[in-house]
């Protein structure tokens, strides 16, 4: 192997450090802001670590607001959206990837168009549909609305993944006596685990961070709010307790990190290695 010049190594490490600093600074600042009184926020010079960290901000948040309820609503919505989106997009992506359909390519592109439209454009027709079906105010309205945007993108992500899998794998399973549906569950999905994990993570994160659909369909009472709506409601007209908002935001990020840690082992590619020559 060629020896790298020391200056190159230094430049590489510096770039990595600066990039990590840029990416991590907002998270660090979120923690610092949460732990000091709101009045310190505009102090100059800024405090990079509070002299007297206010750890009770988390307990206060839980005591004063139905935070856990918002939390469970959001968890429910995110898991339901992720599950429905994956179930639909796995079948759609598989069909687009494997079957020679008449107009299949056009259909694939058409699926993407709903992702190209801004979400705000879909809100009015969706609201009309949900009102006539009595879904306004129900968590399902948000699940369905989010799925309409997430399914197209997941379908394309998964189609891309399925396209890279050799069709001989499924053909071998069919010759071995597996049914077509059995082939999907026994061969395709296990082999596509990294692609599924990435897609699931995407669906979960998009659903978790949604504000627009929740704000539109779940306004009536604060017990059906999502975390994002709840946190946004902490911003008052005259006084905004930034430390409380940041404490809420920290707690809201934890599930994403947990989901990522769980899916990470599947995200590591190379599972398909070894099926071929």
């Amino acid at each position: 192997m060629q020896q790298r010049h020391p200056l190159n190594t230094i430049a590489l490490y510096l770039t990595v450090l600066v990039t990590c600093g840029l990416l991590l600074f907002p998270i660090y600042w979120m923690v610092v802001t949460a732990l000091q009184p709101a009045s310190n926020l505009r102090a100059y010079p800024p405090q990079f670590w509070p002299a007297d960290p206010q750890w009770n901000v988390f307990a206060d948040l839980l005591a004063k607001h139905p935070f856990m309820l918002w939390f469970s609503n959001t968890i429910l919505i995110a898991f339901a959206t992720m599950t429905i989106s994956l179930a639909v997009s796995i079948l759609a992506a598989y069909a687009l990837s494997r079957f020679r359909l008449r107009g299949g390519q056009g259909l694939g592109l058409f699926i993407l168009t709903s992702k190209m439209l801004p979400a705000t454009l879909l809100i009015i027709p969706l609201f009309a549909i949900f009102r006539s079906t009595g879904l306004v105010g129900s968590l399902w309205s948000v699940v369905i609305a989010q799925a309409t945007l997430i399914v197209p993108f997941c379908t394309w992500m998964l189609k891309g993944y399925f396209d890279t899998m050799p069709p001989e794998l499924e053909q071998a399973a069919l010759v071995d006596g597996c049914s077509p549906l059995g082939t999907i569950f026994r061969i395709v999905l296990p082999v596509a685990a990294p692609g599924l994990a990435a897609t699931a993570l995407y669906a979960f994160v998009v659903s978790w961070s949604d504000f627009l659909f929740g704000r539109t369909f779940l306004t009536t009472n604060d017990e059906s709010w999502t975390l994002q709506m709840g946190i946004a409601s902490l911003k008052g007209e005259f006084v905004t307790e930034w430390n409380v908002i940041m404490a809420g935001s920290i707690m809201a990020s934890i599930p994403i990190i947990i989901v990522y840690l769980f899916l990470e082992r599947f995200l590591v590619g190379g599972l398909a290695a070894g099926s071929e020559k």
């Binding site: 050799p166 001989e168 794998l169 053909q171 071998a172 399973a173 069919l174 010759v175 071995d176 006596g177 597996c178 049914s179 059995g182 061969i187 296990p190 082999v191 685990a193 190379g270 599972l271 398909a272 290695a273 070894g274 099926s275 071929e276 020559k277």
Partner: protein, 374 residues
């Protein structure tokens, strides 16, 4: 174990006909090889037999049972793919046992059969590894194990050796033949490599452009090719072709080659005055003292054998495109080859006198490219 029949099979993709009028009977226990250049339809024919491609017309029978409309899993066949198609998330044991599991066999029976197959293929130490932890040759054996463990009516193999290096390929080739002889299972094997076809097959099916050109043993294809394509495709290096007019000589029909009379087979007597295509294999040309003299343009020394190149005399040059002559390698119509095994030293620009043994000359019709009947 079973016979396999293709009856009037056709396959078209829209307006493109990939397979035309495909009729073939494969005997029980026979090792049948489909061979031809890429795009000749050999893999499509195999996939139709496997049920992985639908037929556009005709019927396919395995063991006398019409399977044309049956799914791949119901045809009682096993297939080895070019890229092996091992299930990457399963251990070798599970890969081999997957088909048996699908048949609903009890776990104990599956295990016993898998262990036996692994013993035969010397895979026992690797049974609990994943395919990615195996070498190419081992993966290839796992793919074979997956096929033999099911004890199917027929084995289908789609270029299973093409991913192995040259040495391993030769070794595995003979292993597959031995395995097939021992198990006696009807085997249909697809390859573009004529050496594989000649060395492995009981029956060779030469294909071109979706049509069968000739069916026969290695011997028949080599010594009695039915057309220019088969003559050029089988044999390495391929047959030399030249053209010339049939004339009557004092001892029988002759043609002129480089200013000399070349005696032709007696069947050419009735073709007097016609322009015909003549073929002779490089190993059949004899270097002698009497006959047309040619100057060597290149001498390739391969150790035991030597390939001598010389220019075809101008009036005998036959321009055929490569698709018509099934030559593997890029062949120059103006060059003919001689393959010799002797200790003599040949040098470029040396002039040799050639003899074309009359019994080794092949005669083809220039219009149809079919072998000329007597």
């Amino acid at each position: 174990m079973a016979t396999v029949q293709f009856d009037q099979i056709t396959k078209s993709y829209g307006a493109v006909e990939a397979i035309r009028d495909f009729n073939l009977d494969i005997e029980d226990g026979e090792f049948c090889v489909f061979v031809g250049p890429s795009g000749c339809g050999k893999s499509t024919a195999l996939k139709m037999l496997a049920g992985l491609e639908a037929t556009s017309g005709g019927t396919i029978s395995i063991g006398g049972r019409d399977v044309t409309e049956l799914g791949p899993g119901k045809r009682d066949i096993a297939m080895v793919f070019q890229n092996y198609a091992l299930y990457p998330h399963m251990s070798v044991r599970k890969n081999i046992g997957f088909g048996l599991k699908m048949q609903g066999l009890p776990a104990n029976d599956i295990n016993a059969k898998v262990e036996e197959a692994a013993r035969v293929l010397e895979l026992t130490p690797y049974l609990d590894r994943k395919p990615r932890a195996l070498s190419g040759g081992q993966r290839q054996r796992v793919a074979l194990g997956r096929a033999i463990v099911r004890e199917p009516a027929a084995f289908l193999m789609d270029e299973p050796l093409s991913n192995l290096d040259a040495k391993l390929r030769v070794q595995t080739r003979s292993e597959i033949v031995k395995l097939q002889r021992r198990l006696g299972v009807t085997t249909i094997y697809v390859t573009h490599d004529q050496t594989e076809a000649l060395t492995m097959a009981d029956k060779i099916v030469v294909m071109k452009g979706g049509e069968i050109q000739q069916v026969g043993s290695a011997e028949q294809l080599f010594h009695a090719p039915v057309n220019v394509f088969v003559a050029g495709f089988i044999g390495s290096p391929g047959m030399n072709f030249f053209h010339g007019k049939v004339e009557s000589g004092p001892q029988g029909p002759v043609t002129r080659f480089g200013g000399h009379d070349i005696p032709l087979p007696a069947k050419c007597a009735g073709m007097s005055g016609r322009d015909m295509i003549f073929g002779i294999r490089p190993e059949h040309i004899r270097v002698g003292e009497d006959g047309p003299g040619v100057a060597l343009s290149l001498v390739e020394n391969l150790g035991t054998e030597k390939i001598l190149h010389f220019h075809t005399p101008g009036e005998n040059v036959l321009e055929l495109d490569r698709a018509q002559v099934g030559a593997d390698e890029e062949r120059d119509a103006q060059t003919m080859l001689i393959r010799v095994i002797d200790d003599r030293r040949y040098s470029e620009a040396e002039t040799l006198a050639l003899a074309f043994p009359v019994e080794k000359l092949h005669v083809f019709d220039p219009d149809t490219h079919e072998a000329a009947a007597g």
